[in-house]
């Protein structure tokens, strides 16, 4: 539900409930967008150097373990 829907009410209940939902959705979509954009930006650099991405602490590069 968006604020322009007829059922929307400008009261704390709607703001809190749907506000938190949109915060969560924004974080998730921002995270995904960040990963996609970073991949797009890093790709030419990776092709030039033929480097393997650096190790990350958790769950990384199991196939090359």
């Amino acid at each position: 539900m968006f604020p322009f829907c007829f059922e929307w009410e400008w009261n704390p209940d709607h703001l809190l409930f749907l506000g938190l939902l949109y915060v969560a959705l924004t974080i998730i979509s921002s995270g995904l967008t960040y990963a996609l954009v970073k991949t797009w930006l890093d790709l030419p650099e990776m092709e030039e150097s033929h480097d393997v991405p650096e190790e990350i602490l958790y769950r990384s590069r199991y196939a090359g373990y």
């Binding site: 974080i27 998730i28 373990y65």
Partner: protein, 412 residues
């Protein structure tokens, strides 16, 4: 035939053996598929649900798998936020189990609502005061988070890993996984709680009604606590089962012990609060409703034995097993403790769903019993089949257990 897809340096069974292993799970899925078709085509008259039992076996299964799937968010929280690094060896398994549980639960709810085509109504025409609306929002969003957490593991498949774009994308997702883990923790805390809150606010049903703090009844907090106590135990159970079936050591003992210890402490705390809540209910809510404790257990098969089973056998005993280091270090006792812990939470969700509805609330009401139809069982068991199938496929083709190669060196 498919060995090029296996993770590097590990051994898997032949395709023929694997196909045989998947057959029973495919049969369960086929049974579920037929049941789902009948429910969607002919309607919910295919079930034994009625005006008394609007919540039935599907909701019991839903609540149980959502609680058991809590191992995913809680293990992620412990690994990424608290920094329990030894849990990274079991985190992938926890994420897959969580994904199976949540996607299975949502699929089952899709049938349960009768008209899935109107499923989006709950999001668009939302009642912001409804606990169930909060649950719907959070489990849907959290399934998205779980899919994102699962994705980098899929991209580490040996063949997909060769595609550098995918490899880099997976790597970048790994880099910000803590953000997703924190979001998942936030979403999970609220939906696990709201599932309990949903029962606690039913003031017309003294069997389920509880007082609480501000807008949240005590069941809100008890459901969160019971889920984070049982979720890790279920992750241990599934991983131990995978070890038994594959006859391999897949996860170092330290990861099991850390999870079991945390699960034990949380279960002990839950038991203390659950007993306090039950005593408070017996001497507070029940007499104020003009009833006595035994009034709820006079008719039908749901006797006082359920309370003894839930709190004593499947609560206090597993808490003791998981808390005593010597007991949990013994594999048999560890599995027993986890099994009792998980059974306890299933009983808890069953009691709140089915017994709450079965117990009469008005003087002219009578005890109403309910047994699921084969279609209801079919859909519920399909989730189990789907779980085994997805976990088996993930184990076969993805590097689910990062220490597998080290713990099971291949002889040349």
């Amino acid at each position: 035939m498919d060995s090029a897809l296996f993770p590097e340096g590990v051994k898997r069974c032949s395709p023929k053996v694997f196909l045989l292993w998947t057959l029973p799970w495919l049969c369960l899925l086929a049974w579920g598929g037929l049941s789902a078709f009948l429910c969607l085509y002919k309607g919910l008259n295919q079930t034994n649900m009625n005006d008394y039992f609007a919540f039935a076996v599907w909701i019991v299964f839903d609540l149980a798998v959502i609680a058991l799937g809590a191992g995913a968010f809680f293990t992620g929280f412990l690994t990424y936020i608290i920094g329990k690094k030894e849990l990274k060896d079991i985190l992938n398994a926890a994420v897959i189990i969580g994904f199976i549980c949540y996607s299975g639960a949502i699929a089952m709810l899709g049938i349960d609502i009768g008209q899935p085509i109107r499923g989006w109504f709950i999001f668009w025409h939302v009642n912001v005061h409804s606990m169930l609306a909060e649950v719907s929002f959070c489990i849907t969003c959290y399934l998205g988070v779980l899919a994102i957490e699962y994705l980098p593991l899929i991209l580490e498949n040996r063949q997909l890993d060769k595609v550098k774009e995918l490899r880099l994308f997976g790597h970048n997702l790994h880099g910000i996984m803590a953000v997703f883990a924190a979001t998942g923790t936030f979403l999970s805390f609220f939906h696990q709680g709201s599932l309990g809150g949903m029962y606690g606010v039913m003031y017309a049903r003294p069997f389920a009604f509880r007082e609480g703090f501000y807008i949240w009844p005590w069941t809100f907090f008890l459901f969160i606590l019971s889920a984070i106590a049982a979720g890790p135990a279920f992750t241990i159970l599934c991983t131990k089962l995978a070890e038994k079936i594959t006859r391999k050591k897949l996860v170092p003992e330290k990861a099991f012990q850390t999870l079991a210890k945390i699960s034990g402490w949380l279960l002990a705390l839950y038991m203390v609060l659950k007993i306090t809540d039950t005593v408070n209910w017996i001497y507070g809510v029940v007499p104020r409703a003009g009833l006595a404790f035994m009034d709820f257990y006079r008719e039908g098969p749901y006797g006082v034995w359920l309370v003894v089973a839930e709190i004593g056998i499947f609560g206090i005993i597993p808490a003791i097993i998981l808390l005593v280091p010597k007991a949990r270090q013994h594999e048999g006792w560890l599995i027993t403790g986890c099994l009792l812990n998980c059974t306890g939470i299933v009983i808890n969700r069953f009691v709140f769903t089915v017994v709450s509805l079965a117990v009469p609330v008005m003087p002219f009401d009578k005890f109403v019993s309910y047994l699921p139809t084969w279609q209801e069982w079919g859909i519920a068991f399909a989730v189990i089949g789907y779980g085994f199938l997805l976990f088996s496929l993930s184990y076969r083709y993805l590097p689910v257990f990062p220490r597998e190669r080290e713990l099971n060196p291949l002889s040349e």
